[in-house]
Symmetry: C2
Subunit: 407 residues, 2 copies
């Protein structure tokens, strides 16, 4: 089937956008750094190793760990994970100081992600009023040192969207000229909107010759959309954490990013990431930090594939892609369990009941099905109906029909 | 304090965008329609009335109810809510048929939201292969009828982002010419991205003279960002539900929309919506449909204002706006309970401990505070520390200092 200008398998094809990296991006998985800053997170070394191993198997490109300078345990855990020989590269995230950079390199990481606050807010309240010249000088020294140790280096500003644009571009340009591999844009407070993201990243894309990493907090619910929009503007690396755990309400969730990319970049995602392992990873992290997977979590939320309204159920039964752009089976989720067309409710339609009648192996005419649908809707007005009760009603109606026929 | 071109109180000011309605929009609250399609939702009349009343008090402009044609109970509930005399206008959402439209008007609603599938997917699988000419003719008859009954009428396409653009604009133009008050754009499958939304809504803005309503599902995590971007492109009405409940993983949540709009449109939001009632409404709906408020829910998630990393805690203590663009007290949430600077962890910094020492009424030098911070971090490496334990450690350290001083 073809529709004007689009194909049925991927109606969001956008192949001509040369700036876009939606089909060519990398994931920096930060559950063991940003995620450790989540209120409930206290990872033992054993759990850190398990999470790092699962994420590497899943296919993320980088795993970012807490700054080894944070505590002796953080340092030992970092060293232990570096020694695992995982497929994913190991990064750590440090302040932009020589002490932190030296310790990080000593731990054996593949790369160091340095960060420094550039907004006036942060310069006043976190960095004791430093000016941009002093910040740039400090950054270049640290960058030079990390390169001399043979590690990858990323330079990120903090609170990028409340920083002065000229200051920001100047320091990124300086970092780019100093030979960093990536520069990072961080919406540390979670207030950027997609069009701001597109503008900033596209502008930055024209100013530096490095890769561009983006880090979006979710305070205003835009972390996933901002990540996607950044890729469209030329970003190359997305920061995620499992279920989005991090400071406050967290950052772009790994699973939600997968959901966002699948309709756009299905082949790329399936070739690179073992998305059927997503649920196991989410369940393990949720258990470890003692949270419930949100009911509305993309893909793995308990109702992510549940359809209830009559008109939806009818269309879904005809063709699942009518109302679903994600397929449960892509994620290793059973179609039976996860795509549950709800028909034991007052919102049901007769098409859903017809499908159930077929499943039960009963024979009825359309008029008869419409009649029993009316009975089910009537009952559902009075009480919450279980599947068993609805089936019993269908079977008893069918029995009456047979008896009437035999008389 | 002023930063180049922006003000500190609102660094995202964007006053010169004439197309934008981010400071002038209305909410169509659909918990009692879209929300009733949520897997777990079975609202009694009593609960429907309570939810409608709470939402009207909150300040939403419209409340949308399930199609009265869905079941006898749905019809009676609709009639009962229309008779409450709420400040919010009452809408119902129907298929684009004369039968549904007549029943809706008979129930006493202020307006009818009619919807029809326009994508090729839906026309094939839900509407039995109707062509656009037949769809348009049917729509115009229904619109004319609803207007003749003195009700507001909105005409929406379904699955708008997978519909042919020319078909879509043609039918919207016809509806606009027929005198509908609003046209609706619906991302029924939840796959639209912000830049697609901006393009479609801005194009539509140039084609019709009506208000524009938008309805975004959250399958790929973009519902909030898409709603915001639609307002920037000239949309006037946003569909929400409490906690986003709806088909599959739902639509744009009312609370998350508030979070998204506050940094941009604080004065407008506070003048119009009683945002301090948000938590009570969310708690009631969550209880009614038997779900937990997600841990990462904007504003009311248990960790929405919790800071843990040392460098964050330091800045927050100096100035809350450093890392927070939302203020818990705006939402009636206690600052003490909700803005909890986490310092009983290995990621803590000495600034957070200093603040706690002050709260405990103890006196220590900065060097002494750094020393006790080291002890706390050491302990936090070994076990999860409670606030009590950390306080005990601080007090015992302080006691030792005093004893040393007295000797």
């Amino acid at each position: 089937m073809s529709v004007t200008g689009i194909t049925a398998s991927n109606p969001y094809s956008n192949v001509n956008d040369l700036l876009s990296n939606v089909r060519n991006f990398k994931i920096i998985e930060s559950t063991l750094r940003e995620g450790e800053q989540f209120a409930n997170a206290y990872f033992s070394r054993e759990n850190k190793i398990k999470i790092a191993t699962m994420l590497s198997d899943f296919g993320v490109d980088y795993i970012e760990l807490t700054n080894p300078a944070a505590s002796p345990q953080s340092r030992e855990d970092c060293e232990a994970i570096c020694k695992l020989g995982l497929k994913a590269k190991i990064l750590t995230h440090t302040r932009c100081t020589m002490e932190d950079a030296k310790l990080a390199c000593d731990c054996g990481v593949d790369g160091v992600d340095v960060v420094i606050g550039t907004s006036q807010f942060l310069r006043e309240h976190s960095l004791g009023g430093k000016d941009m010249k002093a910040i740039t000088k400090q950054a270049l020294e640290v960058i030079e040192y990390i390169k001399s140790r043979g590690c990858e280096v990323r330079f990120s500003s903090e609170d990028s969207f409340r920083s002065d644009l000229v200051d920001l571009l100047s320091i990124y340009r300086a970092a780019s000229n100093a030979g960093v591999g990536r520069v990072g844009v961080a919406d540390t407070v979670g207030c950027a909107s997609p069009r701001q993201v597109y503008d900033l990243v596209r502008t930055l894309r024209g100013c530096v010759s490095t890769d561009i990493e983006v880090h979006f907090h979710d305070d205003t619910g835009c972390a996933v959309a901002n990540s996607f929009t950044a890729l469209e503007a030329g970003a190359t690396h997305i920061d995620t954490s499992v279920l989005g755990i991090g400071e406050r309400n967290g950052i772009c969730p790994l699973g939600a990013l997968m959901a966002r990319m699948m309709p756009t970049s299905r082949d790329y995602i399936l070739s690179k990431y073992k998305v059927h392992q997503l649920k196991a990873i989410e369940d393990f992290v949720a258990e470890t930090v003692e949270i419930n997977v949100p009911f509305n979590n993309p893909i793995t939320g308990f109702c992510a594939f549940t359809h209830k309204a009559g008109i939806h159920a009818k269309a879904i039964l005809n063709s699942p892609s009518t109302y679903e752009i994600l397929k449960p089976e892509d994620f290793g989720l059973s179609r039976q369990l996860y795509r549950y067309v709800h028909f034991t409710s007052r919102l049901t339609g007769w098409n859903a009941i017809k499908s159930r009648v077929d499943q039960l192996g009963l024979k009825m005419t359309d008029d008869q099905i419409k009649e029993v649908t009316g009975k089910i809707k009537q009952m559902a007005d009075l009480k919450v109906m279980t599947l068993d009760e609805s089936d019993a009603l269908i079977r008893s109606f069918h029995l009456e029909l047979q008896q009437a026929e035999n008389n």
